[in-house]
Symmetry: C2
Subunit: 119 residues, 2 copies
């Protein structure tokens, strides 16, 4: 039951598209991620995901629209909805999602799929 | 699936100790709260709670220690752990907790207990 400082935790890694676990509550993990460039289209069969932008500007692409998420904003992507995160410049994110959630969801991608580890 | 701006949502209410729901994911709600002064000692039998401070400095009192949570920091209070939030100056919080969570948890307090409503 200690306070967790987001900036301190972000300073501990540089890797892009590789979420790090920094907390757990109920059936969910709190993760940090740094993004740059384009991710792949994917969805999660059973898990809603929250993306809170703490630095930069995230473009969340959906099949029917694009949504910009600025610093100090979040977006919730419901289960089963296809999405593709894009970060033209580096984005720092807090993610909240069930412990079962993998970064590429429905898609298995040898380069992109990563098991999240505790930071 | 729209971006939600935290500052905009905080501007919509002034009330203290009355969490407002601004999102839902899986079995949880995302809430905003403004705190000032001292809350009551309470716990939640089955729910972990996340408190992310976006303005001010929260003092989270536990029976065996005090923990300060500054802007840009969060703390997770596990189920069953007694806690008492204190805000010497106004604090703005993002809360993430199960939909079943009430603000006073185990304690029924006619003045303090509030049903959270969507903002």
């Amino acid at each position: 039951m200690n306070a967790i400082n987001l900036a301190n935790k972000f300073s501990l890694f540089d890797e892009h598209w590789s979420p790090k676990i920094i907390g757990e509550l109920n059936d969910s993990h709190v993760k940090l991620a740094k993004l740059q460039g384009e991710f792949i289209w994917h969805h999660h069969d059973d898990e809603d995901e929250l993306f809170l932008v703490v630095k930069g500007r995230l473009l969340m692409k959906f099949r029917d629209k694009d949504e910009w998420v600025n610093e100090g904003e979040f977006i919730i992507v419901p289960k089963s909805v296809e999405h593709k995160p894009v970060a033209e410049e580096e984005v720092h994110l807090v993610l909240i999602e069930p412990k079962t959630t993998t970064n590429t969801g429905s898609e298995k991608d040898s380069e992109r799929s990563k098991e999240a580890e505790w930071l």
